[in-house]
């Protein structure tokens, strides 16, 4: 390349770097502001004084003001339950779609994919009615049930299982394995990276889910963190931003910390989920 083009690209590169960094700063600003406010006293929530003393008081107050411990327990139980169910159900269904021929397979698969577009979130009115009929209102199970059969999971695993070489399948069959044993011994181990990816995506989604849990839960015993945070920060009270930002950070901390520590895995998971 000519020297001129080289210099021009150098300048262009510089401008791009500045642009990228500006956007990055802009992107992290709201969160940084929230973190700053949470760690400083109430008086400083509206006056930015760089030398203000750090304090954990807001977190203590927030923790005492609402049963966050119980909310944590509920949310962990919820995500664990949903993930466990999803892994089992989607593995079985994905296996069926990938390796078995039966009439109506394609129609059924198309019907499954409908859930990608029409998620349980938009069917709140009717699902609420169903939960009432099942007698499950205001339970953690009720929050998770509509999501346990995940079209995304089924799709992902079907694609993954399809890439497993048929020879391995046949080899295992020759050794006398039943189809379920083949699934457990051959397919599942090979799909491990996909399982990890899916788990991370699923937990992120359900940790952060709000509208359906808001509607279906009514008491502290079943309420997850997102709903607990909203009840706590309902703005009819005199707003104390330091405490609200502290509470907000409390509820997002586990996921954030996990993300910061396992950044690479999270990013890879979402990437892998997208590629499929």
């Amino acid at each position: 390349m000519s020297a001129l083009a080289h210099r021009a690209s150098g300048l262009g590169h510089g401008v791009e770097t500045v642009g990228a960094w500006l956007l990055g700063a802009l992107w992290i600003l709201p969160l940084a502001y929230a973190v700053w406010t949470a760690f400083h006293g109430g008086e400083f929530s509206t006056h930015f004084v760089p030398s203000a003393p750090l304090t954990l008081e807001n977190f203590a107050k927030a923790w005492a003001a609402a049963p966050f411990a119980r909310y944590f327990v509920n949310t962990i139980a919820l995500c664990a339950m949903i993930l466990a169910a999803q892994l089992v159900l989607c593995t079985l269904a994905g296996y069926a779609f990938a390796r078995f021929a039966f009439p109506g397979r394609n129609t059924l698969f198309a019907l499954v994919l409908v859930q990608l577009m029409i998620m349980p979130d938009v069917l709140i009115v009717e699902n609420y009615r169903t939960m009432g009929l099942l007698g499950l209102k205001d339970t953690i199970v009720a929050i998770g049930l509509p999501y346990m059969a995940s079209a995304f999971g089924i799709f992902l695993l079907r694609q993954t299982f399809k890439t497993v070489p048929k020879e391995l399948d046949e080899a295992a069959r020759v050794e006398g394995c039943t189809p379920l044993q083949v699934l457990w011994k051959v397919y599942v181990p090979l799909a491990r990276p996909v399982y990890v990816a899916y788990a991370l995506v699923s937990v992120s989604y359900h940790w952060n889910n709000f509208l359906w849990p808001l509607i279906i839960t009514n008491s502290v015993e079943s309420r997850p963190l997102t709903v607990g945070l909203q009840v706590f920060s309902a703005t009819d009270q005199g707003i104390d931003w330091s405490i609200i930002t502290a509470a907000t950070l409390l509820t997002t901390a586990p996921l954030l910390v996990a993300f910061l520590l396992f950044q690479r895995q999270f990013v890879q998971s979402f990437m892998r989920a997208g590629i499929k």
Partner: protein, 430 residues
């Protein structure tokens, strides 16, 4: 040989006595949802009340459940009712009465008010508060955290503007004049200090009702089946509010948030604010300047709607729970307790005899601002309350917000709101 049957008999009697005792010990559990609409450590105070009652009444366990804002609390209570999991009682807006009756969720208190003692107790509440608590000759709500709107003003700012710091505006005209003197702008024309602020989120209809009451007009009939949003006096009141921000520019433009208004006051962003007396303790603790509290200014008359929450008794509660709940309600609205609640929060103590208790007398002597809301009760009117309440008030709220943001002229906004309210209330006019 002879001792054995006697011994067995003794054991039997003791066992029977113990199990009877155990049964009697099984505590009756009563629960209630309650909202918080004012600043301060309210949840702590309520938990304290529950603990105190339990100490005095060992057979009862009280479980207060904080349920967010008033609107959310109603939603939660109704959701629980529909899932057959209703609480024993709840503190909900006095105006939710019709909705709760229509949803068959609550029972009237009359069945529990038999003895002359009880009759005296129920007659001992301020009539202004009982207006939103009765219909069809029955009592559906017992006043608990009630309020009126009052005007808070920053005395320092008054002094700086050349106004008498101890005199609040007594009329709409005066309030406008004061506000014009109190609005300050910086070099570039940007306002650094507003004259007056009247919030318009959450429940704008409530603050609007103060303006309409002062203009001498009612917004609904006592049966809750008709509304009068398009009366000329109502439109006039709305126009006054709109003009404050658009014509005279002494009031922030657009929609002003309810939750941040007290904080704005502490931050010296405005000189006068209209908000509930329930914020009194909050303001007292956080305003770092001398402030005053006054009745709202008059136009044709003084006035304010009453506001706040009543205790409701739920139909699904078992008889022993209802009895225990009645005990709790009577206990918490006894003069001494009602007085303490008022002192701790700033809500108006709901009975005249509460104001005569030594604790309250001392408090008022120390802090006369506390008595303003009570004195305003003589000018108070019932809060807007109709069938299908949430939806009708939404129609009015939308109209108010449309006018305040300039999307519709006042007359149009109120006409549309009235049209919608008529549509919603038609099925109830039999």
């Amino acid at each position: 040989m002879k001792r054995n049957p006697f011994g067995r008999w003794i054991v039997g009697v003791v066992a029977a006595a113990l199990s009877a005792l155990a049964l009697a010990q099984t505590p009756v559990e009563i629960s209630f949802y309650y909202p918080v609409a004012v600043g301060g450590p309210i949840t702590k105070i309520v938990d304290g009340l529950a603990a105190d009652f339990e100490k005095e009444n060992p057979g009862v366990k009280v479980k207060p459940i904080y349920s967010g804002a008033y609107q959310d609390s109603l939603t939660k209570a109704l959701t629980a009712v529909k899932s057959n999991d209703a609480p024993t009682m709840s503190v909900l807006l006095s105006t939710d009465m019709y909705t709760l009756i229509d949803e068959d969720a609550v029972i009237p208190f009359d069945a529990f008010i038999k003895t002359p003692e009880d009759q005296a107790w129920v007659k001992g509440f301020y009539p202004a508060f009982m207006e939103n608590s009765q219909t069809g000759g029955k009592i559906w709500g017992i006043p608990f955290q009630r309020s009126t709107i009052v005007l808070y003003w920053n005395k320092e700012m008054f002094r700086d503007a050349g106004l008498d710091p101890n005199k609040a505006p007594a009329s709409w005209k005066e309030m406008l004049e004061y506000a014009q003197k109190l609005t300050k702008r910086d070099g570039s024309g940007k306002v650094t200090q507003w004259g007056v602020q009247i919030p318009s989120t959450g429940f704008p209809y409530w603050l609007f009702q103060a303006l309409t009451t002062e203009n001498g007009v009612q917004l609904m009939n006592s049966a809750g089946t008709e509304t009068y949003f398009d009366k000329p006096e109502v439109v006039e009141a709305l126009q006054y509010w709109v003009d404050l921000s658009t014509k005279y520019k002494v009031h922030p433009e657009g929609i002003v948030d309810w939750g941040t208004t007290p904080k704005d006051f502490f931050e010296r962003k405005m000189a006068m604010m209209w908000t509930t007396t329930g914020n009194l303790t909050n303001v007292r603790n956080n305003a770092k300047f001398d402030f005053g509290v006054a009745m709202l200014p008059a136009n044709k008359r003084r006035g304010s709607p009453t506001g706040g929450g009543n205790f409701y008794l739920f139909k699904q509660a078992k008889p022993e729970q209802q009895a225990a709940a009645m005990k709790f309600i009577k206990w918490v609205t006894s003069p001494a307790r009602a007085a303490q609640w008022g002192i701790d929060t700033g809500y108006v103590a709901v009975r005249p005899d509460a104001w005569e208790t030594p604790a309250m007398k001392k408090y008022v002597a120390d802090f006369p601002a506390a008595a303003v809301a009570r004195d305003q009760l003589q000018y108070a009117m019932a809060e807007l309350s109709t069938h299908d309440g949430p939806r009708v008030t939404k129609a009015l709220n939308d109209g108010l917000q449309a006018a305040l943001t300039g999307a519709k002229p006042s007359a149009q906004a109120m006409a549309d709101a009235q049209h919608e309210a008529d549509r919603l209330l038609r099925p109830y006019r039999k």
